[in-house]
Amino acid sequence: MSLRYSFKLAAMSLLHEKWINLLSVLTLAAGLLITSITLLSVYNINIATNRLPEKFSVMLYLKDNLSREEVASVMNAARKESTIETIKYIPKDEALQELKKTLKNTEFVLEGLGENPLPDSIDIRLKREFVRPEMVKTVTAKLKEINGVDEVEYGERFLSSIYSLRFGMKTVGFVFVFIMSVGMIFVCYATVKILFYRREREIETYKLLGATKVFIRAPFLIEGAAIGLFSGLLSLAGMLALYYLIILKLSLTFPLFHAILFPLQLSFVLPLIGLFLGMTGGIIAIGRIRY
């Protein structure tokens, strides 16, 4: 069988049935674009939350008037925790200076306080892999038991919210991508099926002249693949246009948008996903050929 002839037949059909094919390409491209936006959102949230462990810290507030030895003893007890990456003692005077720096022009709110109200504290950074809500909870419970520790604080709600958001986005994202993929395969399936029915007599003639199943199937598979590939390329163009619109235009007004990342791999993956979906739909549509 000549593959060149199969490509020729597929090209002829793509042109001859241009409206059906164009409609399929546009539908698939829209589906792929929506799917890509979902994946891009999941990707960016994932990147953002992956940076969280670098910023995340647990603060141990010490009881008042601990001696140097007692502070050292607290730090040694904390160091025994294998989950801890770094540990830093912050005397209350340094904490106050830091607070003043943070308050900048509103420093006046501290006037009249007289004595430094802040306690001595220990800033603890956990190892990256342990910055998870349930793990942090366990660690902080242990740290709180150390003699000399008055309070432990780490922004429990914030951490839980971020992780719930990440988990939620991933789950919803993947379910959505799955549903969209099934839908897109169905579009390819329906297109190839329609083309197959429209050429039923032609296919019957092929069979009677001695065509093999591969000879009959190949042009339809190529056609399905071409529809998928064109859709992938079109959705990629849409995606890039959307991305640059956000980065170049919207980020001027909303600087937050500037942080959105576009994975370059998507440029290769999108057309390939289209190709895969197109071929899968095509294979299902042709099904078994009976003589």
Partner: protein, 220 residues
């Protein structure tokens, strides 16, 4: 080359063929005749495997068609050139491509295809129409394109279902002469026709069918 042994074929409402037994030797050219509905087309369909017999055995070349696996059907069909009653030409391909299809299916290379297609078109006097589309041709011309497609791959068996059904008497004579020439090169040919003029004085065997029954054999 072809053997039928007690072959019957039933459809829902009627019996197309009943206990048919005959054989065709390699290199023979025979006619199958009978009125419309006598089972001529069904008999040809059984040979090119478009139908399966309900009873009996059929042998085509080296294949027992009753026990043939699905994947071998294309192989059998490639040894046969068929001129269908309704031609089965593809309207979206020109004459050249319609004839070339039989070779493309067999995986022939482009140079071979070009030479053989023009050769076949020359045989049926349609070399000058190679760029035309079927719907611009007369019935007779379409029939000749179908003949060219059937002979282009040098099949060992040629089946023709009413090959002169749409042509004038002069063209009919020309078509039969073409078949004789092809037959002279060694192909086995079966021609189904209700036109007795076609086989008169040809000296070829004629199998007669009458409403699905074998009604005897006569010399042409």
């Amino acid at each position: 080359m072809i053997q039928f042994q007690d072959v019957s074929k039933h459809y829902d409402t009627h019996t197309a063929l009943r206990k048919i037994t005959f054989s065709v030797e390699k290199g023979e050219m025979i006619f199958i005749t009978g009125p419309s509905g006598s089972g001529k087309s069904t008999l040809l369909k059984l040979i090119y495997l478009a139908e399966k017999p309900d009873e009996g055995n059929i042998r085509v070349a080296e294949w027992e068609t009753n026990t043939l696996r699905d994947s071998h059907i294309p192989l059998v069909r490639r040894t046969i050139g068929v001129i269908f009653q309704d031609f089965r030409l593809l309207g979206n391909r020109d004459v050249f491509e319609n004839v070339a299809l039989a070779l493309r299916i067999r995986g022939a290379d482009e140079r071979d295809i070009k030479a053989k297609v023009f050769d076949a078109l020359k045989t049926v006097n349609l070399r000058h129409k190679s760029d035309s589309y079927p719907d611009t041709l007369s019935g007779g011309e379409q029939q000749r394109v179908a003949i060219a497609r059937a002979i282009v791959s040098d099949p060992i068996i040629i089946l023709a279902d009413e090959p002169t059904g749409n042509v004038d008497p002069d063209t009919s004579v020309g078509i039969i002469r073409t078949f004789k020439d092809i037959n002279a090169k060694g192909s086995t040919i079966l021609i189904a026709t209700h036109n007795r003029e076609l086989f008169r004085n040809t000296g070829r065997r004629v199998l007669k069918l009458d409403f699905g029954n074998f009604a005897g054999e006569e010399p042409g």
